[in-house]
Amino acid sequence: MPDLAVGFSGIAVSPGTGAGPVHRLAPPPALPAPPGPPVADLAAEAARAAAALDQVATDLEQRAGGATATAAEVLLAQALIARDPVLAESVAGRVLDGEGAPWAVDAALREQQAVFRDLGGYLGERAADLDDIRARAVALLLGLAMPGVPSPGVPFVLVADDLAPADTAQLDRSSVRALVTARGGPTSHTAILARALGIPAVVCCTGVLDLADGTPVVVDGTTGDVRQIGADEAERLQEEADAARLTAAAVTGPGRTFDGHPVKLLRNVGSVDDLADVAGDDGFEGVGLFRSEFLYLGRTTAPTPDEQEQAYLALFEACRGAKVVLRTLDAGADKPLPFLELAAEDNPALGVRGLRTSRRRPEVLADQLGAVARAARATGADVWVMAPMVSTVGEARSFADQVHALGLPRAGAMVEVPAAALQARRLLEVVDFLSIGTNDLSQYALAADRMNGDLADLLDPWQPALLQLLAMCAAAGRDAGKSVSVCGEAAADPLLAPVLVGMGITSLSMSGASVPAVRAAMASRTREDCEGLARLALDAVDARSARAGVAERCRS
């Protein structure tokens, strides 16, 4: 019998399997063209409009109660807008002039949006925030489905065109089994959030919006497949996935293959807060990427050397003697920092960013390295320091000299530019280690903007060209006897991780939530298995067949 099941394919961005009924993020309500039906009781209609805005504010306040501090602040500011007395007056005035409540609310908020857009800048961006308030109030008044994340009362698979930060503020693992979006790319907000929450997710999945609410599907966040199935099968697959997750969590201790070959599983972190849970984690092996930007963001002046030293002391102490790889300041025209005073550029991704900023402001790097060295000396921590956006051996040598001169024994180069991957052997003659940032390396190797959803397929970490660059770096590391790690999100894919190890990658760094599944994936394979998977992936002609081939070999 032919397989009539409906299937879709997108880009896998958060590993694991989730199954259950689809519920779509409701689109904004459609408001019929004005004028609406004539209003009989103007006062009652005005009260109805006021009650709707009040309800929207109450809902926003309730959502804030369950959200993180940052999200709660955004939601509470939105609630204040919904309760704005001047807005209420404007709506009431329109109703008393004969407009129906939904049209009055719509018009009053659109008028305010126009004011914000005209003012531009920060307020121009805030204009979009008013869309959510308007859509919610209009939906209430027309009796339509509330836009935003549905609450069907059972665990479900959330399907959306794309997700906005406001939509995702309250997502949680217990109610959302998987996320699928029709748009978005591997580095989109949805992808990052799903990985942080540990929810399986697929993005850029064309056609998925055609699935009706309630349709049972299974989502494979490792291969990118989304398939319509029976309701019973969905429950069974979800139970299996839950069991697999528990099994993965039961594999503890440092990362190693089945035959005991060690593979360090490290964490990507952005602040000391990300390390709050390591005290009770016997599998914590250290930090593979510490993004040091947090010290600098939102500053108009550089942090003082002393302030930096204190921050690094806190970080090194939080690592409890484990290895910590610190990336020096990664800023540029795309991640601007006011005090660097860098000029605006036509092509910021190709401009003065990462280590290149030290051409103009060498003292910023010198201050940072000095503070790191003092904090390392004071704590005796195992500190490795690496520079972002290295393109030449000369850049790497001068960075390594600077690091070594301060008494820091380990200086490394990040491989994000194809030129660095091509020069991996020579780089390893002047630095102590390499760390590959796969997100940027994809962007530069495939010439595809990380933020451009239309090009998301080019940014797939299984692209043969990217895999070849990774293999070159790994081989260079093996020959030099030096560490080569992967710290992009490719390392977090339990299917790709064994491929990387098979190439000769020595450590993998990822968000803390991704570690258990990767640890379990490593523990079930020998090093020889991994080498076989690496050959299979490198022989494939395209990303899809590379992933499918490895997935099939892993199942058999």
């Binding site: 602040e73 509470l76 204040l80 007395p85 963001l297 500053r299």
Partner: protein, 94 residues
């Protein structure tokens, strides 16, 4: 009529959280308060939309007006609020 001037102390300007804090305090002031640019029209200080639309940045001067019993005290505390810096550094991102 009581009138005061205040210099915005918040690093991000009278936006987001500082604006929310100010609007809530104005609503709780017990007297009607209006706020604006020294050379512009004044808006209801309880209106989040109106306060945001002022676009007041760090270091900008704004004018507060009120009348009635307790207006002096109310404006004193609102001026103090506006001149304070409520902000913490922005959260880290990759």
């Amino acid at each position: 009529m009581t009138r005061r001037e205040a210099t915005i102390g918040s690093r991000v300007g009278l936006h987001a959280r500082p604006a929310a804090v100010f609007v809530k305090a104005s609503a709780a002031a017990g007297v009607p308060v209006r706020i604006g640019r020294p050379d512009g029209t004044l808006v209801d200080a309880r209106s989040m939309l109106g306060v945001l639309a002022l676009g007041a940045r760090n270091g900008d001067t704004v004018v507060l007006e009120s009348s009635g019993e307790g207006a002096d005290d109310a404006l004193d505390s609102l001026v103090a609020l506006l001149e304070q810096d409520h902000d913490e550094p922005a959260p880290a991102d990759a």
